[in-house]
Symmetry: C2
C-alpha cells in the first residue's frame, strides 16, 4: 500500500492532480474502514511493545510520524484516532504552534530536536519543521535565501535521523478547498467547536494557492528514500485514519523489532522466588 | 465512590487491614468491570476536551494522576488501560526511573517539576517524588534526617500545585505478597515478558515489610485534603482500572470545565467565509 501513496523522489508534484476524496487501496466504505482500522489496534500495540522491549536491550530504533496539512485537514484528529491505537506511555506527541521568542532565538530545528522520540518510542509531530518552509515561505517570515537554504538542512537533518535509527514517516493530509470551507463552517456553527476557530484562519485560507505551491515545493525537495513523504487523500476521515494506521503497520512490520533474550539465569531466579517464604 | 477509597487525613494506616482483592463499590465481576470501564471512555474524553478547550481561554486547571505501588502492582498497565481512554495529545505521561547523576545533583523535586502537566492537560506519573521517601527510606539512599524532611517538602509542593489549579489524585495500587509472586513468575515463564523482569526485583521483594511500612508512613503523612491518597485494591486488574477511571471521572466532573465562548464575531466570520470565491 505504501508505494501507492508515496511521493516519487525527485519528481515535480502537482497537488491539483490528486483527488482529495480518493480511497486508494482502501476499504470500500466508512463502516469497513473504521472496522479495519480498529482491527489494526492489536498488531500495532504488539509491535510497539516489541519496539519498546528491544530498546531496553539497547536497540535505538524508533518511529517518527510527521503530520502536515492545511487547517482542518485532520492532523489533530489523526493523532487522536491513530495514536489512540497505541499504548500512550510509549508515545511522544508534540504539537508545534507559532514559535516562541525563545524558539526564534535558536535555529528552526532546535525545538524539533528537543521533541524527538527516544529509542523504542513512537513520536508524533502535529506540524513540524516543515512549517519553516510553508507558512514561513507564504508569509515571508524569513529572508528568501534562508528559506531556500532550509530544504537542504531539513534533508541533512532527516538523513541523520534515519542513520540514528529513526523511521521517519511524513504524511501530507490533502483536503480540497471546499472541504476546508465545510469544516470551518462546522466549527462556527457548533458552539462547542468555536474554540478551535480563529478568524485569522480565513486570511490564511485566502492564500490557498500559495500554500499549495509551498507544499508542492517541500514535497518535491524533501521526498527522500530515507524519509518518504506520503500523500494522503484526507477528505474522508475514515480513509485518512485507515491509511495512516496502515502506513505505521507496514513500517513497523518491516522493522520487525524483537523481544530481547533474558540476560540472567531464568531457572535460578525462579528457584529463588519460590524459596522466598512469608514476608 | 471516592470517599470509600480515600485514605483518611491524619490517621494511622495499617495496610494489612485492607483486602487487596476487595472490589468496593465496583461492578460484580470482570466482564461487568471491563464493560463499565469502556463506557467511561466517552465521558472522560469529552471532559478532557472541555478541560483543554478551557485552557485555550486562560483556564489554568489540569489533573495529575500519581501512580505508586510495589513492583507488578500494575502502574504500567493502568497507564495503558486508563490513559488509553483519553485523547493522547492532551496527556503528559512520565515514568520515573532511578534518578540520573544530573537529577541527583538537584533537589528531588527538580525532575518532578519539569514533568508536570500544563494547563488543560491530564498528567500521569508512573512512580513519582514518593520514591524519595519509599525506596530512599528502605534502602537508606539519603540521610534519615533528610528523608524525614521530605514529607513536609512534599506537602508544601503539593499544596502549591493545588493552589496553581492542579487536581492531584494519588493512587496506591495495593497488591498482596502472593499476587506479586504470581506476577513475577509469569514474567519469568513467558519469554515475551522476561524483558520486564530484573533479578534485583527478588531482592526488593525480600524487603516487603519495610516497603509496606514506608508506604504506611507516606500515606499517613502526605494524605491531605488538597492532594488525597486513594488506596486501590489491585489484585484484580479489572477492578484497579475501573476504580482509577472512576476516580478520574468523579474529579473531572467536579471540575466541570466549560467550552469558552467565542471572542470574535461569529456571524461576520461566517459571512466572510461564504463570500470567499474560488482559490
Amino acid at each position: 500500500m505504501r508505494e501507492l501513496l508515496r511521493v516519487p523522489v525527485g519528481e515535480t508534484v502537482d497537488l491539483s492532480a490528486y483527488d482529495t476524496a480518493a480511497t486508494p487501496a482502501g476499504p470500500r466504505d466508512k463502516a469497513a474502514g473504521r472496522a479495519e482500522t480498529a482491527r489494526m489496534a492489536r498488531p500495532l500495540a504488539a509491535l510497539q511493545e516489541r519496539l519498546w522491549a528491544a530498546s531496553t536491550a539497547g536497540d535505538r530504533r524508533r518511529v517518527l510520524l510527521v503530520l502536515q496539512g492545511m487547517d482542518t485537514s485532520g492532523k489533530g484528529g489523526t493523532v487522536k484516532q491513530v495514536t489512540g491505537l497505541f499504548n500512550p506511555s510509549g508515545c511522544r506527541i508534540q504539537a508545534f504552534k507559532a514559535p516562541t521568542p525563545q524558539e526564534l532565538a535558536h535555529s528552526f530545528l532546535w525545538r524539533i530536536r528537543k521533541a524527538l522520540p527516544r529509542p523504542g518510542e513512537i513520536g508524533v509531530f502535529d506540524r513540524s519543521h516543515y512549517e519553516d518552509v510553508l507558512i514561513a515561505r507564504v508569509r515571508g517570515l524569513a529572508p528568501r535565501a534562508e528559506i531556500e537554504d532550509r530544504y537542504a538542512r531539513i534533508n541533512d537533518f532527516e538523513r541523520s535521523l534515519a542513520e540514528d535509527g529513526v523511521t521517519v514517516i511524513k504524511c501530507f493530509l490533502h483536503i480540497s478547498y471546499d472541504t476546508q470551507r465545510r469544516r470551518l463552517l462546522k466549527r462556527l456553527d457548533n458552539p462547542d467547536k468555536r474554540w478551535k476557530f480563529d478568524p485569522s484562519d480565513i486570511d490564511e485560507r485566502a492564500r490557498w494557492p500559495a500554500y499549495q505551491e509551498a507544499y508542492e515545493i517541500a514535497l518535491r525537495r524533501c521526498a527522500a528514500p530515507y524519509a518518504p513523504w506520503y500523500l494522503i487523500p484526507a477528505d474522508h476521515k475514515w480513509y485518512r485514519d485507515w491509511a495512516v494506521s496502515r502506513l505505521l503497520l507496514e513500517h513497523l512490520r518491516e522493522l520487525d523489532p524483537r523481544y530481547p533474550a533474558a540476560d540472567f539465569d531464568v531457572e535460578e531466579c525462579r528457584a529463588r522466588l519460590l524459596k522466598q517464604g512469608d514476608p
